[in-house]
């Protein structure tokens, strides 16, 4: 039984297809992570402005996104949004939208807390040395904020990669769905394929996320004051 199962992995294009599935997973992750970083920075900076309206709007947005399971957001966007506004979204597009909404919210919060955590003294020493506002941000504040943001942002990226597994449930053909297709196509000949396919996917996810986690931990230690 077992050797039958593992054979499926190397049968025809199966292995390659699983990796192509991983490519879809990573493509979705990378697109949304990059977009979230850009939009999140913008949102974070908006949140540091002490404007009460912006504050309330961003806060409600952040809390709602945080409270809702990502899968629910995917469902609502995929099925609900299409019907409500009549926009024809593919599963992939719906996933991109949800992940960017989510990533932007989380990233925005990271950026905000990084900026407010830079001690006032740093601003003052810079000012006392004659830096202009622009120079102060460019040379003193931003580089330090970045160091605070990068490790948690990498953890966020890891979570986003892991969460892409949910898009299988709105029909996007990525690694997990490919795995299910392979298992199904071989269900007569190799019933134990499930063990091997799911095991392989488990480790493919692990090796996609783990290096980021390690890097984040490393950077955090390195930049620890």
């Amino acid at each position: 039984m077992q050797d039958l199962g593992i054979r499926v992995l190397f049968d025809g294009e199966n292995g390659v297809r699983l990796l192509l599935g991983l490519v879809v997973t990573l493509k979705l992750s990378i697109i949304t992570i990059i977009a979230s970083c850009l939009l999140g920075t913008l949102m974070g900076l908006l949140m540091t402005l002490r404007n009460p309206i912006i504050h309330i709007v961003t806060r409600v947005y952040l809390e709602f996104i945080r409270i809702m399971p990502q899968l629910v957001l995917l469902f609502v966007t995929y099925f609900g949004l299409t019907r409500a506004v009549g926009i024809n979204l593919s599963g992939f597009t719906a996933a991109v939208i949800v992940f960017i909404l989510w990533g932007t919210a989380e990233m925005g919060d990271l950026v905000r807390s990084a900026f407010i955590s830079i001690p006032k003294d740093q601003y003052e020493s810079g000012t006392a040395l004659g830096f202009s506002k622009l120079q102060l941000y460019r040379f003193i504040i931003l580089p330090q904020a970045l160091r605070q943001i990068i490790p948690p942002a990498m953890n966020l990226a890891t979570r986003m990669i892991m969460t892409t597994s949910l898009v299988v449930l709105i029909g996007v053909v990525e690694m997990l769905k490919t795995g299910q297709q392979i298992i199904e196509a071989n269900r007569y000949t190799a019933p134990s394929a499930a063990l091997w396919i799911y095991g392989t996917i488990f480790f493919l996810y692990f090796f996609s996320c783990w290096p980021l986690t390690i890097l984040a931990q490393h950077l955090e230690k390195k930049w620890e004051k």
Partner: protein, 250 residues
């Protein structure tokens, strides 16, 4: 010949909300003079220094540097800062930069000086304070005293005409106090004009040309160090000085 007056403060007043922290302070500082300000906590010493170099806006009065009014809003702040160096109690180095970059950044970016010249000057200054081997270290790898000394040359490299020191040894362990104060003593010897806030009384006595005693936002007494420490003319100064004396218990 009378020395030129470098800094003149006239009727300075500073109010936070409804609380007047500095009430009508006037002072003249000549080139090469070392002025020490002492006084109890919260009397407005830090605020006074911050008003001089423009970190705080003042409510009334004026600050003149070489006869130019610098408390005027229209003046670009960075110009003032290059003339007036300041070092704080909390040795706020930039944590993401090496010692060398900490020292040179403002000279390169604000003064737009040549990199080679600035680095050479920085090395000279580092050697002078005995930290030549630390130029590639990051702040977190240094002791408090080392950080504070570097904060000083970070200000000095801009060639200020006057330096303001605000309790630069207050957060240091006792054995580091001396190394920092020795750097200031070196500056005194070179004739740097300085305005120093400190709680180290024997240090103040040794270096000051004039001592100002602040209390409650006012100059209560101005005196020579000798006079001030042996026979202060006000009772408030007397009380203050007493808190540094211990009568033998045994």
């Amino acid at each position: 010949m009378e020395q030129e007056i470098l800094l003149k403060i006239e009727h300075l007043q500073k109010t936070y909300d409804n609380h007047t922290v500095l009430k009508d302070i006037s002072m003249e500082i000549k080139k090469g003079e070392v002025i020490v300000i002492v006084g109890p906590s919260g009397c407005g010493k830090s605020t006074f220094l911050r008003c001089i170099n423009g970190l705080e806006k003042i409510n009334h009065g004026a600050v003149y540097f070489k006869n130019n009014c610098i408390s005027d809003e229209s003046l670009p702040h960075s110009l003032i800062c290059q003339q007036i160096g300041m070092v704080f109690q909390s040795y706020e180095l930039f944590n993401h930069l090496t010692v060398m970059d900490n020292i040179t950044l403002a000279a390169l970016q604000v003064q737009r000086r040549k990199k080679s010249e600035v680095q050479q000057t920085a090395r000279k200054l580092l050697t002078r304070i005995g930290l030549a081997d630390k130029e590639n270290f990051y702040p977190r790898q240094l002791s408090g005293g080392q950080k504070q000394r570097i904060a000083m040359i970070r200000a000095l490299i801009l060639n200020p005409e006057i330096m303001l020191f605000d309790e630069v040894t207050a957060s240091l362990d006792p054995e580091m106090v001396r190394e920092v104060l020795d750097v200031i003593i070196g500056l005194v010897r070179q004739g740097m004009t300085m305005l120093i806030v400190t709680h180290e009384m024997s240090f103040a006595r040794a270096i000051a040309d004039r001592i100002f005693f602040f209390d409650n936002g006012e100059i209560v007494e101005e005196n020579t160090p000798e006079q001030f420490f042996t026979q202060p003319s006000t009772t408030r100064a007397k009380q203050f000085l007493n808190s540094f004396e211990f009568n033998s218990v045994k």
